[in-house]
Amino acid sequence: MPSLNLPLKRQLQTLLLKPWALGLSGLILLFGLWAAVAAAAVVDPLFLPSPWAVLAAGQQELAAGQLWTDIAASLMRVLGGFGLSALVALPLGIAMGSSTTICRLLEPLLALLRYMPAPAFIPLLIIYFGLGELPKILLIFIGTLFFNALMIMDAVKFVPPELLETALTLGGHRSDLLTRVIAPCIAPQVLDAYRINMAAAWNLVIVAELVAADAGLGKRISLAQRFLRTDQIFLGLIVIGLIGLLIDLGFRFLMRRSCAWAN
């Protein structure tokens, strides 16, 4: 019945043209492949646990309250470290972007520090601050501060001088420029910088927990390795990915809401 089939095909086509459609089908395809390989039992389930085994592990950890504790522990560290970094990077980046002196003074230093891999600071941080929360938070702080600051600096440097000068010719004072022109102008780029560097913060918290922690998603993964619980490792990876994605979407949402003019 081609007359019935045609609209269906059309509908499918328009559905596939939606921006998220292809991405979603890619995901579904991957899961299907995973389920198929697991069902065919061609790979040792120790190496490749089936999706339902991972789901079961998830239910188990949920029931034990373990999953929430881990998520909360990792999330708190990310929020603490990244929040601190965002807070310090904002004035630092703005100062570097608007003053050539400060920029010349700090840029080489930040550029150098930026190339030192943050995880390489872990031994030092442990020696200084032990195994508690502080070294983990500081790791995320140093691991993201320089990126945040340099990206904010760039945003400030790219504020069109005409916008600043217009304010001056309208009777504005130099002290008005920061709050009335620079801040609203760089807001979208700042949010975007935070969104991008949040991914690094999320990576670093896992690294920190792999080394030493009593709770956290990274900690769970390294424990699971000791007991060859690949299902728990898979679960951990998926949860980490999902939370990262949620944070990313959160930033995008915030951006759309607060900086509609920039879209």
Partner: protein, 255 residues
């Protein structure tokens, strides 16, 4: 209002790398006058405008408004740029109100003046639109309204229509001419467009490049009551052609 430039020179850079951009510019203009500077790109027009606006300091010579030396930007000299003329995060009305808020006027006054000047440029219906929702011509009209709302003694326009399509540019020229006739503003316009300068200004200073200097000043005398007709009239076209030849001559040594 009297704007007076006396032997104003400007060079950028230091020592051997210094380059002279403006060479001993002198002129005066009075209240209600429409004066244009005409020059090819790179002849130092924007540099001159920035000096008058107070955004930059001359290397030598002096600028004054009403006898007071110009030292820094001020709301008495409003400026409209060619690009990035509006704040993209503010609506048309908020853009117009921007300068008034910077001057910390009271709310009612800001609201009244904003509405009034949006009406002056014919954009009352677009008050709530963001700049990106407006055409290039509308954006420049908002920028002009914003400058006017601050009640400047002198309006500085740096190639305000340079980025617009030809047709929109023509209608904007008519708009500006009409605005000038209605309000008796003092306008200093900078342009590389010969027709624009001839149509709008009463007095034109021709700027030769490298270094920028006034080579000739002419007073324009024609009936500006019908710009569209004037554009196509014989005497106007002849004058325009003669000026074009003169401008080409100025750029010749370069080629």
């Amino acid at each position: 209002m009297e704007l007076c430039l006396d032997q104003v020179s400007k060079s950028f850079g230091e020592g051997r790398k210094a380059s002279l951009v403006l060479d001993r510019i002198s002129f005066t203009m009075q209240t209600g006058q429409f004066v244009a500077f005409l020059g090819s790109s790179g002849s130092g027009k924007s540099t001159l405008m920035r000096l008058v606006a107070g955004l930059d300091q001359p290397s030598s010579g002096s600028l004054s408004l009403n006898g007071q030396p110009i030292r820094k930007p001020s709301a008495e000299r409003g400026m409209v740029f060619q690009k990035y003329s509006l704040y993209p995060w503010l609506t048309a009305a908020q853009n117009v109100a921007f300068g008034l808020e910077l001057q910390r006027l009271d709310k009612q006054e800001i609201r009244d003046r904003t509405a009034f000047f949006l009406q002056v440029v014919g954009l009352s219906d677009w008050a709530a639109c963001l700049p990106r929702q407006l055409s290039g011509g509308m954006q420049q009209r908002v920028a002009i309204a914003r400058a006017l709302a601050a009640k400047p003694q002198l309006l500085l326009l740096d190639e305000p229509f340079g980025a617009l399509d030809l047709q929109i540019r023509e209608s904007m020229q008519e708009f500006l001419h009409d605005l000038w006739c209605r309000t008796g503003l003092s306008i200093l316009l900078i342009t590389h467009d010969i027709e624009e300068a001839l149509l709008l200004a009463q007095q034109i200073h021709i700027l030769a490049p490298r270094p920028g200097r006034i080579v000739r000043s002419l007073v324009v005398e024609h009936d500006g009551s019908d710009l569209a007709g004037l554009r196509l009239s014989r005497p106007f076209l002849n004058q325009r052609q003669a000026l074009a030849a003169e401008m080409r001559q100025l750029d010749r040594p370069l080629a």
